[in-house]
Amino acid sequence: MDYIKAFLMGGLICAIAQILIDKTKLTPARILVTYVTLGAILRGLGVYKKLIDIGGAGATIPLLGFGNSLAQGVIKAVEKDGLIGVFTGGLTATAGGISAAVFFGYIFSLIFNSKTKK
């Protein structure tokens, strides 16, 4: 059942992005920036937690989930450590994903070469 929910939630989030790409002047890069910002705002409003309860990985895998993790990390750190948490919480919560992206991104770009474009 959680696979069906994840499929529907993840699919819906991507379908909305596709409509935005096709119908507006938003480029894929702008979509990613918009989504991460929106995800953080939705977590700030307390909405995104509900989407994760419903959709599981379907809500955390899209980049909205990255924004959610940043905001959630900040909020939890503020509760625990006060004002300093504003600056430490976000990147602490997302350190694993960001470090992996930097490291694997760099390693695989060294190992592989881009296909020659026709």
Binding site: D2, T60, I61, E79, G85, G97, F108, S109, S114
Partner: protein
Amino acid sequence: MERDVKKEQEYKNIAQKYEPKPALLKNVVMAFVVGGLISDIGQFFLNFYLSRGYSMQDANTLVSITMVFLGAFLTGIGVYDDIGKFAGAGSIVPITGFANSIVSPAMEFKREGFVFGAAAKMFTIAGPVIVYGVSTSIIIGLIYYFLK
């Protein structure tokens, strides 16, 4: 019969106007299906890590790392861009697409050097994502701190 020719032209105009519509529907369906499938792969790993006894937070972090690895690897071997050709946003929006946005320009600009080529270009898209994500979260944190 002149009227029919006129109507034909009119029909052609209308048809042309609505031509991109089926493409939109197809794009949206493909984005939905591929985005859904990538989410299911994430759900599979989430369930796996949870069954191994990791907390929800740790399991989510491990899923992110795993998906980033897969996205970077599939971009390296050239598969991810093939998926992207028909999947559109379905392959861009998931975290695997974030990894793709790092590896893809890094590979391409490698020949311009390992510092200002590969390492700098990695962040062409990832950089703005982190800038806006972190900045937004800090503003939210400040609001939360003062309203709490």
